[in-house]
Symmetry: C2
Subunit: 323 residues, 2 copies
């Protein structure tokens, strides 16, 4: 089985590749080839013994999608995207990568011939939902994105469903929860603090909390998200019917509960490093975000959330220790 990861150098792509290399199989079938595609340099996953290709390519450039599809992967994991803040700041770049890049991939598969019909996994986003939102949000929530990124992801979902219905590929779109704890340095994304307030104190560094502690949100660890992508890759497409896109389960906690989990795992001295510094601009953005979901369909299809915020923090510590 040949698996291609587009976005193979990213935070999730690397984890998915590592897990495939470690497991050596997907859905009971041996993984004999792995192709990692990214505009950045991808790293060879440790211990992979099959055919490995590291392709530094930009999907949105002419001809690239066709060349990738010519490798005939059995599974295409399309994780590559311009992130929300950049897609909002740079209108043309967001549409070029998130819409045109995705469509170029879908078109290349459609036009491949030979009855080629791979499984395609597309990572969509909670940004397809826009306020006002119920709590919890069900599987039939209307998609009314309030960002260009959310619009591009919603269009990707629609294309994925139509191409799947037509039989051009066997697609599944998954709306991942907000990733927590996001590794790396603090960034200025509006959602950054959800990770910052855990990751930085765990290292003994201070962190700023810009919103009220009562704010609740929907989380998955990077490890759970990588597992979701592979669970989606191995699902029976017929079980999806015509509804090819779904919201995935997450851990719903308030900021206060995040902080209590941090206290249980790392003690009062870690919690003391969090400084409340209200930022009305960020608070306003976060106010309009989803709080929780009723993910009945994804649950029935076997997707499983992290057990708790405590587990999410422990997974982060294990992952950091392993690096």
């Amino acid at each position: 089985m040949h698996i291609m990861i587009i976005g193979g150098a990213g935070m999730l792509g690397r984890r998915v590749a590592a897990k495939l290399a470690k497991d050596g199989e997907l859905g009971g079938k041996p993984v004999t080839a792995l192709t990692l595609v990214d505009v950045f340099e991808s790293a060879a996953p440790e211990g992979f013994t099959g055919t490995l290709r590291l392709e530094r390519r930009d999907l949105s450039q002419p001809g690239v999608a066709e060349e990738l599809v010519a490798l005939r992967p059995d599974v295409v994991l399309h994780l590559a995207a311009i992130v929300s803040s950049e897609a909002e700041a740079d209108f043309e770049k967001g549409y070029a990568i998130n819409l045109d890049g995705t469509r170029a991939l879908f078109e290349a598969i459609r036009l491949a011939g030979d009855d080629y019909c791979p499984r395609v996994v597309f990572t969509s986003s909670l940004a397809v939902f826009g306020a006002p939102l119920p709590d919890p949000i069900g599987d039939d929530q209307i998609l009314t994105p309030l960002t260009s990124y959310g619009t591009q992801k919603a269009i990707g979902e629609l294309l994925l469903a139509d191409y799947s219905r037509r039989g051009f590929f066997d697609g599944i779109g998954i709306r991942l929860p907000t990733i927590c704890i996001r590794p790396g340095r603090p960034n200025r994304a509006a959602s950054g603090f959800f990770s910052n307030i855990l990751r930085e104190p765990l290292k003994g560094e201070p962190a700023v909390l810009p919103v009220d502690r009562s704010i609740r949100h929907w989380f998955a660890s990077p490890e759970a998200a990588a597992g979701f992508i592979l669970h989606a890759a191995a699902l029976d497409g017929a079980a999806l019917g015509d509804r090819r896109n779904l919201t995935l389960p997450g851990v719903c906690v308030s900021v206060a509960e995040q902080i209590e989990a941090l206290r249980r795992v790392a003690g009062d001295q870690a919690v003391a490093l969090i400084r409340d510094e209200p930022d009305p601009a960020i608070a306003r953005i976060i106010e309009s975000w989803p709080r929780s979901f009723d993910t009945k369909r994804a649950n029935e299809l076997g997707f499983k959330a992290d057990a708790s915020m405590d587990q999410i923090i422990r997974l982060h510590l294990q992952s950091e220790a392993a690096e």
Copy 2:
């Protein structure tokens, strides 16, 4: 005020142009210029005294959108589309016209410069909805199209909302009810019989009814639809907020009620011309279609449905007599 109708030679475009020529104004402002764009030859509307341009152009061809936008219409009515059955039969043509043509128009407006920000009216479709559907369908129904046409229209809605949110234009997308009585000859569209069973008997011709008489559906006369497009053109965009797309009110009747209306207007001898000839293929398609809607938002914005199926039939007779 300069109004451009893209799809100006179509069934609705002609009616909108005729109404603008007759009224001479839109939302209280005089219509000084009218540009009719179509791949077919448009006809000059009777009695229009302003500047008239008849442009036989294909929006999906390179450069055409830019040349049309260079005329700087204050209002763009984008009614042009490949119809559902053709978009399903010809995948590439449907996407080229319904998605790429629409996007080319939106992009040309975005890139026009000079703070150009026209009102854009986009005719979407009930085909954005896919079974299973509630009855009635509310304003928050999720869009799950089951045709390529419906997918293309749903993508158009998403783009329209994002471009409006960004301030590139002031857009409104309207999902028209099924047009009844559609003028012209019987066609093989699955929905054709809704019009055939009225139009043909009114001319003394036989008509075939392929579905059960209990089937209910959602209708507007061509005249009401043309009125909806002009009502949308004159609306205050601020009243729409971020939700730029809406389902319009219609007349919900069963086939049996259509037939009783025909009896009231044209007598038993007209009704006797309808022959029941069940077609399981058509019945299956129609089964999955919407039956009725709760169009609260459109009602509040002043859109008004035809009074009854009787009125729809009488409007058809008046319109035929005038030709």
